[in-house]
C-alpha cells in the first residue's frame, strides 16, 4: 500500500489510472457471473440483471434492515475495540500478563457459536446478542494489534521522556499512543468487516429485522435474486467499512504516517531470556499452565455469572465429570450410542483434518499471490477487490452455492477455510515484502540475480516473520471456519455433532466440545508462536 499511501499528493491522472485494474476486475467478475447464470449452475445463480432489478425493487427494504444491522455492528465494534485497547493499555506495565491476555483472547474467537448462542439468548434481549457477537469478532485482532503498537516503540524516545521527568502516563500519551496508531489502524481495519458479519450471525438467533433476518427469509423462501442482492449489499458495506477506515483516521489525525503494519507480529523481545533448555522447558510449562488456567477461570466465571447460565452452559467441573463417566444420546456414525469422549475425539480429529487442509491451501495461495502481487503491482489492484469481497460475503448465504460447486466433502470445506484465511495472510505478507530495504534489492540486482533468486533469497526470508505472525491468527480462524462448514455443508465432525447435541439439549456434550475446541485452538496458537520464536531466533 506504499503506492497509495498518500493518494492526495498524487496527480489526478495517476489516481484514475490506479482505478482501472479494480474496475476491470469487477467487469470480469460480472461477465463470469453472467456465464455461470446461463450455465450449469443456472438454478442457483440468478442473472446479474435479475439481481439488479430485484435490488432496485428492494431499495426501500434495505434501509431499515441495514440500519439495524449496522447499529449493532457499530456498537459491537466500539465495545470490542474499546475493551481490547483498554486491556492492552491496562496491562502495559506487565508484559507477562499482557501476553497471557493475548493468549486467552484466542479463546474468544475459538468459542463456538453453537454453544454461545443459547447463553446469549437467555441473558439478553433485542439486538444485544448481535452487539456481543460483533464485539467478540473484533476483540482478538484488535488486542493483538494494540499490544504490538504499544510495545513496539522506539526505546530511546521512552528514555528521553523518562529522563526529562515524565511519568509512565506521559510516556503512554506522548510516545506509545502516537506510535501505536499505524498498527492499531491496521487492526481496526481488519476488524471492520468482522464486526458486520458478527452482527448478522447474531440476528440468526431471532429478530424481526436486520440483514441476517432478511437473509434467512429470502433463503427460506427460495428467493435467490433477493438473497444475492442482500449478499451484495453486505459485501459492499463491509468493503466500504474496510476502505473508509484509513481515510477517517487520516482526516482525524492528519499527522499519522504510514499505515503499513504487520498484524500479529511480535514486538521487541522482553529483555534477555535464559536460553538454557531447562529454563525454556520451565517457561513453556508455566505459560501453558497460565493460559489454560486463564481460560478455565474465564469459562467458569462466564457460566457462573450469566443468570440461568447453568440451564444451557456447563462449567469445567461438570464437563470433566461428563468425560469421565457420561454417555451421549447422539446417534453416532455407527448408529449406536457411544461413550462421549472417544466420539468427541474422533469428531475433533475430523475437524482438525478439515481445518489443516484448508489452512495449508489458503496459506500457499496467499503467499503465492503475495509474491505475484509484489512483483506485479497491477495484480494487487486486481486482487484487492476480490479478496475484500471474499472476506465480507456472509458464509451462510454463500454455502449452498459453494456446496453445489465443490460438493459437500473436503473440497467445499477447504474452499471455505481458504477464503477465510487468505485475506489476512495476503495483507500481512504483502506489507512485509514491501518493507524489504531497497538497498538489498539493488545489491541483488548488481550481482545479476534473477527474479527467482530475488524471491527466494530476499522476499520470502524477509516476509517470514510476518507470515508466521499471520499463521498465528489464521490457525484458530481455520478451526472456527471448519466447524461452520461442517455445520452447514458436510454434516460430520465436531461442528455438526455439537449442533445436533444442542438441539437435543445435550449441553454436556456441547460444552465438552467447547473445551476441546478451545484446547485445540490454544495449542494451534501456541504451535504457531513456537514456530515464530524459532524462526525469529534464527534470523536474529
Amino acid at each position: 500500500m506504499t503506492a497509495t499511501a498518500r493518494p492526495f499528493a498524487r496527480p489526478l491522472a495517476a489516481r484514475l489510472r490506479d482505478l482501472v485494474p479494480p474496475l476491470l476486475t469487477v467487469l470480469v467478475l460480472a461477465v463470469a457471473w453472467q456465464v455461470m447464470a446461463t450455465g450449469a449452475f443456472g438454478s442457483l445463480v440468478p442473472k446479474p440483471a435479475e439481481v439488479l432489478g430485484q435490488m432496485r425493487d428492494d431499495a426501500d427494504y434495505y434501509g431499515p434492515n441495514v440500519s439495524v444491522t449496522m447499529a449493532s455492528a457499530l456498537q459491537g465494534y466500539l465495545w470490542g475495540n474499546g475493551i481490547a485497547i483498554a486491556l492492552a493499555l491496562c496491562t502495559l506495565p506487565f508484559p507477562r500478563v499482557q501476553a497471557l491476555f493475548e493468549r486467552v483472547a484466542v479463546g474468544a474467537i475459538a468459542l463456538p457459536l453453537i454453544a454461545v448462542a443459547p447463553l446469549l439468548a437467555i441473558a439478553f434481549r433485542g439486538s444485544m446478542p448481535s452487539v456481543i457477537l460483533a464485539a467478540q469478532a473484533v476483540v482478538f485482532t484488535t488486542l493483538v494489534a494494540a499490544i504490538l503498537g504499544l510495545t513496539g516503540v522506539d526505546r530511546t524516545s521512552v528514555d528521553v521522556v523518562r529522563a526529562s521527568g515524565g511519568s509512565e502516563w506521559t510516556v503512554i500519551r506522548r510516545v506509545r499512543l502516537p506510535a501505536a496508531i499505524p498498527s492499531l489502524v491496521a487492526g481496526l481495519q481488519v476488524a471492520a468487516p468482522g464486526a458486520i458479519l458478527g452482527a448478522i450471525i447474531g440476528e440468526y438467533m431471532g429478530g424481526s429485522e436486520g440483514l441476517g433476518v432478511a437473509m434467512v427469509q429470502a433463503q427460506g423462501a427460495f428467493d435467490i435474486p433477493r438473497a444475492w442482492g442482500l449478499a451484495i449489499v453486505t459485501s459492499l458495506l463491509a468493503a466500504a467499512a474496510f476502505l473508509a477506515l484509513p481515510l477517517v483516521v487520516r482526516t482525524a489525525l492528519p499527522w499519522t504516517r504510514s499505515m503499513d503494519t504487520v498484524l500479529g507480529a511480535r514486538a521487541a523481545r522482553l529483555g534477555r531470556r535464559d536460553t538454557r533448555p531447562l529454563a525454556r522447558v520451565r517457561r513453556a510449562v508455566l505459560s501453558v499452565a497460565a493460559t489454560v488456567g486463564g481460560v478455565v477461570l474465564g469459562w467458569w466465571l462466564l457460566v457462573l455469572v450469566v443468570p440461568g447460565g447453568s440451564a444451557v452452559a456447563r462449567g469445567p467441573w461438570e464437563v470433566g465429570r461428563y468425560f469421565l463417566n457420561g454417555d451421549t444420546q447422539l446417534v453416532t456414525a455407527s448408529g449406536e450410542a457411544e461413550d462421549p469422549l472417544p466420539y468427541m475425539l474422533s469428531s475433533l480429529l475430523r475437524t482438525i483434518g478439515d481445518a489443516g487442509v484448508g489452512f495449508l491451501v489458503g496459506l500457499v495461495l496467499a503467499v503465492a499471490m503475495a509474491v505475484v502481487a509484489h512483483e506485479f503491482p497491477v495484480i494487487e489492484r486486481v486482487l484487492m477487490p476480490i479478496s475484500i469481497a471474499l472476506r465480507s460475503i456472509p458464509i451462510v448465504a454463500a454455502m449452498p452455492l459453494l456446496a453445489l460447486m465443490f460438493g459437500r466433502g473436503i473440497a467445499a470445506v477447504t474452499v471455505l477455510i481458504a477464503v477465510m484465511t487468505f485475506f489476512p495472510i495476503l495483507v500481512n505478507v504483502l506489507l512485509a515484502m514491501r518493507a524489504v530495504p531497497r538497498s538489498a534489492g539493488d545489491l541483488l540486482n548488481a550481482v545479476g540475480a534473477k527474479r527467482r533468486h530475488h524471491i527466494t533469497k530476499l522476499l520470502i526470508p524477509y516476509a517470514l516473520p510476518a507470515l508466521l505472525a499471520s499463521v498465528k491468527i489464521a490457525l484458530p480462524l481455520s478451526i472456527g471456519a471448519a466447524m461452520v462448514a461442517e455445520w452447514l455443508a458436510t454434516g460430520y465432525g465436531l461442528g455438526a455433532s455439537m449442533t445436533v447435541a444442542a438441539t437435543l439439549s445435550d449441553y454436556d456434550f456441547v460444552w465438552g466440545g467447547v473445551a476441546i475446541v478451545l484446547l485445540a485452538s490454544l495449542m494451534a496458537y501456541r504451535l504457531a508462536g513456537a514456530l515464530e520464536d524459532a524462526a525469529i531466533g534464527r534470523l536474529e
Binding site: A117, M128, A214, Q217, P307, V331, L504
Partner: protein, 354 residues
Amino acid sequence: MTHINTPPRMGRRSFLRMTGQGAALLTAGSAVPWLSGCGTGSADGGSGGGRLTVKLAWIPNAEYAGIFVGAQDGLYGKQGLNVDILPGGPNSAVVPMVTTNRVNIGVEAIPENVATAVARGAKLKIVGAGLRKSPESWISLADRPVKHPKDIEGKKLGITLAGKNTALVFMKRNGVDVGKVKLVPIQFDPAPLAAREVDAIWGFASNQPVSLELRGIKTYVMPLADFGFNRMQSVFFVSEKTLSDRAARERARKFMAGSRQGWEAALRDQRHATDVIMEKYGAKLGLKPNEQAKSLAAIAPYVGAGGGSKASAAPGSEGLFWMSDALIEETITSLTSIGIKLDRSLFTNELLGG
C-alpha cells in the same frame, strides 16, 4: 448507545435496561452486577398484571398467523393480556428461554426438543398443539419423485442437523438400508433440491413446496405421517412453575384462548390474516403477499386437522390446539421409536379447558 438501536417493540423500561447494560460494560471487570441485573428478564418483569412473552422458533411468517391475528385484532387485549412476541431464527434457542423463565410460553416446531429437555430433567409441559397433523415430509422434484421411503436408497437426502436422529430412525423403521443413503445438512434452504444436488429434502409440506412452486418448480410431497411417523408439531409449552402459579397460569390460559381465537379467525378469513402478517412484518422482511397467502392456505389443514373428525364437529373444549388421546398416543409412539423417553404426563390440555 444510540436510539437507532432500539427495536421498535422495545419499551422505555427495556431500553433503559439495555442502556444500563451498555454502561456497565464499560467497566469490563465488574460483569457480575449488570448480568444479574438483566437476569430478572421481562418474563416476570413487565408486572402490570397481564403481560406475557412468547418465543417463536422461526422468523415471523404464516406459520404463526393465528398469534399475529390475535395480537392485531385485540383478542389478547380484550382479556386484559399484553403479549410480547419474540421471533426466532436458525440459531434460536426456545427451550432454554422457557426453562430459565425468560419467556412464559415457547413454541417449538418439533415436540422432540421439548421431550428430550424433559428427559434431561427440565420441568416443562406441552399445553397445546399448533399443528395436529405432522406436515413433515420428504420433498422431491415431481419428475424424479421419492414416493416411498425405500425409494431413497442409493440417493442423497437433505436434512437439518436437528432432524438427523429422526431421519435415521424413520428410515430404519421403514426398512431402508441407511448405509445406502447419503445424508447432507441443508438447514432450511430448498436450493440444493432445486439445483438437483440432492434427490429429496426433509421439509414442511406447507413450506418449501410452496416457495418452490411459486418459482415454477413442481414437487412431489411424501408426508412422513403416511409412513407411520405422525405426531403433533408446532407445540406450545410452558414450565411447570407457570402451571402451579395461579396468576401465571391464568395469563397462559388467556394466551392460549386468544391464540385459538386468532387461529380460528385466520382460518375463517385467510385474506385478513395475510394482511395482518404483511402489515406487521411485510415491509421489514420483504414478505410477498401471494407467498404468505399460499403458505397459510397450505398450513391451514394441519392446524385444523383434529384428532379425528370429532374435533372439528365439536368445537368448544376440543377445538384448535386440543391434544386428543389418539394424537398423544401417536406422538408418544413416534418419539419413543426415535429413542426419546416420554409419557403422557408431558401433555396437558388444562389451559384449553372451557
